[in-house]
Amino acid sequence: MTATAARREIPGTRIFDAEMAQKGYALNKMCYSFNSADNRSAFSRDEDAYCRQYGLNAEQTEAIRTRNVLGLLAAGGNVYYLAKFAGILGLDVQDLGAAQTGMTKEAFKAMLVAAGKVD
């Protein structure tokens, strides 16, 4: 039996547990560094070099290169840190929501507005 055997399955949802926290450490550490404007510009100057400096694995580097949000999550990314990567790209959480659900941003926003309508 593994420590995660009893993990609850919630559709379309990952719990950022010990397994993910270990798997995503380098990726999240890189994204945490984006709190600093200097680090953000260093990344933008040479993305691959910056990913190497933080020791990202091939899966993580590829997900960064292709701006693949679900791929970043699968590679152990935590959304609180990934949001800082999105910031560099000028994307907000609604862009992220659209990217992950395969909707346009307009459709994603409309879905939320619809959820607020009382029937």
Binding site: R8, I10, P11, G12, T13, R14, I15, F16, D17, A18, A21, Y25, N28, K29, C31, Y32, F34, N35, S36, A37, R40, V69, L70, L73, N78, V79, Y80, Y81, L82, A83, K84, A86, G87, I88, D92, V93, Q94, L96, G97, Q100, T101, F108, K109, M111, L112, V113, A115, G116, V118
Partner: protein
Amino acid sequence: MAKIVGGICTSHVPAIGRAIAGNLQEDPYWKPFFDGFPPVRKWLDEVKPDVAVVIYNDHGLNFFLDKMPTFAVGAAEQYFNADEGWGIPTLPPYSGDTGMSWHVINQLVEKEFDLTTCQEMLVDHAFSLPLKLLWPDSPTCPVRTVPVCINTVQYPLPSAKRCFKLGKALGEAIASWDDDVRVVIVGTGGLSHQLDGERAGFVNRDFDLAFMESLINDPEWATQYSNEEIVEKTGTQGVELLMWLATRAALGGSVRKVHSNYHIPISNTAAGLIVMEPKG
């Protein structure tokens, strides 16, 4: 002795910072959210707190996965807001209250809460934006502050039951502080929202409204749920309702609802607001 005048719980998404910076309070998208706050400010003018104990969760500004405290309490003379990476304006520093901080720390550790104490602590949007919503016209926050941070980043998170107990002990600690100060508890986070995964955009009005109602009439209701169950019902970041629960618990016995507001959406979030006052 210190007196807890009441508790305020509110959502805290970064987009609020952008809306404040862009003066969008009257914009049709934002108005239903910002319109919730004038009654809170009126109440604050009446109860006149000197200190705000702010229960919030850090989003990767002060804490990283290298060291992730379950519960952290600030004990600094000043707390600085800082760049979080996405360009919302940084707000001016906040005054601390080291006397109250250390009293709270001593009392909570005495009651078997093994805290992390922070003599330096950056405070993120979850701390700064709610205070800006409460005191928008004051260039610097007019009350002293004590930050209490609960981990919602890396599991295992403290359970709802544990957060309730922390809040209860926090309220007792504040009430036993030998100084005539008036204290408001501010809890920030939630309500239902999910930023990550294929279920991004999930909100749950029925659960949120039941939760808000429970704070008044059945405060321990939410402690029946595990954090995984809370995520299932409210989304990955909906679990931030733990801050609300700790805030309610700090108010003790029964409370009166002074004011509330609920609006979907702001950004990806179901925004809730409630003001509660201890009865008697």
